[in-house]
Symmetry: C2
Subunit: 427 residues, 2 copies
């Protein structure tokens, strides 16, 4: 396996650092629009693991927005797998470039949605991933695999859902992905500051788009942003966090392979963050349409959302000033294999102090990057195999969770949790 | 009297429209950085009042940031009074330009403050107007008058305070300027939108700077932004509005001429607006320090606060879509002239439907522009006279309020209110 990693930002950098400790692949090309960023990732691998390990990595410059450039770089390095670790707006170009180069493809976020033109808060328009699934025939014909949504959420959440479906439930009422954290970022003086741990650009995109929900009787439909607030109790000391519906890939992926009456995604944004996003929307500062602004060099046309992103600390740099844990998981309700009501929360927790110490990566991007590493290892060893455009739940979950939990060096040393909860009286 | 109006934005435009109906002056030069804007103001006067009235106005281009340009334009037109109607960051250059040209000067906001370098929330640094008052000697020596803070707040509020001091109270506990409104702006579809009725740039400046308070025993001191929230009941149907301390000129002006134990300014921002300002501050979007942002034409350095302003509707354009009233006034507590506890609220209310119909100007900018017109008329007729740097409370309030209240054409047809309130048990 020869991997082309596209993007050496927070997640790409963490991915490279994770697989530097594995041996399932032959070579990795770390590419970025900014070559220096790719080189810094490899330099940090050299520092920690030595020149021999670093020799398995090559830096390259790439323009992820151009499918032909992606294909050319992939061909030049005889790449077998293209790993997309950049913003979702580049999904289509990298997806096309990988197929053109005859490589398999993985991403951690799917092609973007477009709201319904007249009924955005009740009906779906173009859904997340629609563009990719429309091209599934081309991938099947070529005998190539596009494994889409293979981060932590989507990704590990979909693996949990498949595991619950295969091993824990005979009938599922709801597959509810629930994400929450108790992360705090401080400035040099020790005061708490506002510093999202993931790209604010992407967070705005997913939180302000109409959330999508799946119901077996109704299909996919949407609601207004921040709908159905719910306090969810997260494990390992994180505790209760206010969660709201958010547009997310799981809702589009799980119903394609798994049988459930309802599929939802709720993000534990917390009240402060929800307030911030509401205000950005109220003021039009979430907009990607440029406005005319005066500058010292004359007028410029800038997208307000880009200015919001530029005003906040870079999520890749806040790791050393952050404390706390982040939790990703799926809350499943229904009937157990014995036919009795059952309710479980399957989850994985990532602790920032540990990821910083072990990988010099903050916990949210590290947890995202962990999962495509595991998936690639299963593909490299032939445990997972397939063609076409497939989600993580199309594959057997058991070997995945076993490889994740097994101690190093056999596995990734990342145990996961199963929280057995008391089912509500009537389901 | 020959007036140079600097700025034909919302307030400048309304000022020109107000004095188009008066005859106390000989000529007005309407100047703006954008000559077309000055010409549009005069064109609208021609449409409403005819060519003869419009002939008393001349348009000119000006760079308000350059004192020499201001002086040159003033000399070219033999100007006797320079009327500053632009953002407060231009106060110093226009103030200097007027003195250089040998003209008197009026403004509606004073030179800007700088927070205390180490104790911003308890001690004052450079205060509003400090820079102007330091130059008072030059104005006195030249025999010229700078009448500073002569809008509605500061301005009419200071006139009310002087009136209360001269005619209603023997001893004053607090001179508390209180500003509130029930304005609502709607989009074309009739939905309420977020659209501040005054420059967001200036609003951020005054609301996020540490509020200043005066106490006779302590002098001037500061607090944290949004301190001492209080629900104040505004008259004429506006009702209760949440008010907080805000940095404002009245607190710096009134104690120089009037005797009061405490001087405060509270702005009826309402909870939503306070939340918006807090969020802008939390995210650094109130900042005037440029950040690097990508644009279609390459990277640009833009000030986040300018992007916020550019993303919101121009306050000068929202008049037709706005309904409601705005109230400016001073709440005075102490002992009446009979020595008994007394509490009054002296106020003026401006109704947007009326100002739009009568002047084609939205009510907040119209109410601001009304007051320098009255002051100039009192200076033109010799009822008010003085030299040096003086606030509105340095002049007799009675003729001002009489001219304001008298029906047109003798006066401005703007009655003011005196709300007698029940004093608290112990003052």
């Amino acid at each position: 396996m020869r991997i082309l990693l596209v993007g050496a930002g927070g997640v790409g950098d963490a991915f490279a650092k994770i697989i530097a400790r594995r041996s399932f692949y032959e070579h990795v090309v770390v590419s970025d629009y900014d070559l220096g960023r790719a080189e810094r990732t490899i330099a940090s691998i050299a520092t920690r693991h030595g020149a021999e390990t670093a020799a398995r990595f090559t830096a390259a410059q790439i323009d992820a927005s151009d499918p032909e450039v992606v294909a050319r770089v992939a061909r030049e390095h005889s790449v077998t797998h293209v790993m997309n670790a950049v913003e979702p707006k580049f999904v289509q170009s990298i997806f096309a470039g990988a197929l053109a180069a005859g490589a398999d493809y993985l991403d951690m976020a799917m092609s973007l949605s477009e709201p319904h033109p007249t009924e955005p808060h009740t009906e779906t328009g173009i859904k997340l991933g629609d563009d990719q699934f429309e091209q599934a025939g081309d991938w099947e014909t070529s005998g190539r695999l596009a494994l889409v949504g293979m981060g932590v959420e989507p990704g590990l959440s979909d693996v949990f859902a498949r595991y619950a479906s295969d091993h824990l439930f005979s009938e599922i009422d709801e597959l509810g992905t629930r994400d929450g954290a108790n992360l705090v970022v401080r400035d040099e003086a020790g005061n708490e500051i506002f510093a999202p741990s993931f790209s604010i650009w992407t967070t705005i995109e997913e939180c302000l788009n109409p959330p999508v929900i799946f119901e077996k009787d109704r299909g996919w439909f949407t609601t207004a942003p921040f709908s159905e607030p719910e306090v969810f109790d997260f494990p390992e000391g994180i505790g209760p966090v206010e969660c709201v519906n958010v547009e997310h890939e799981e809702v589009l992926l799980m119903p394609r392979w798994l049988d459930a009456k309802r599929v939802t995604f709720k993000y534990g944004l917390g009240e402060e963050f929800i307030g911030v996003l509401r205000t950005l929307h109220l003021l039009g500062l979430d907009s990607v349409n440029p406005v005319r602004v005066r500058t010292a060099d004359g007028p410029a046309m800038v997208a307000p959302r880009d200015v919001v992103a530029a005003s906040l600390p870079d999520p890749a740099t806040i790791g050393p000033r952050m404390t706390g844990k982040t939790c990703a998981g799926v809350w499943v309700t229904g009937l157990g294999t014995d036919g009795a009501p059952r309710e479980v929360y399957l989850y994985h927790v990532s602790d920032n102090e540990w990821t910083m110490a072990e990988y010099d990566a903050q916990c949210v991007v590290w947890q995202t990057a962990l999962n495509p590493a595991i998936a690639l290892e299963l593909l490299a060893t032939g445990v997972w195999a397939g063609t076409g455009v497939l989600g993580p739940e199309a594959f057997d979950a058991k070997p995945y969770l076993d490889l994740m939990a097994a101690p190093e060096p056999a596995g990734y040393g990342q145990p996961w949790g199963l929280d057995e909860r008391t089912p509500a009286a009537a389901s």
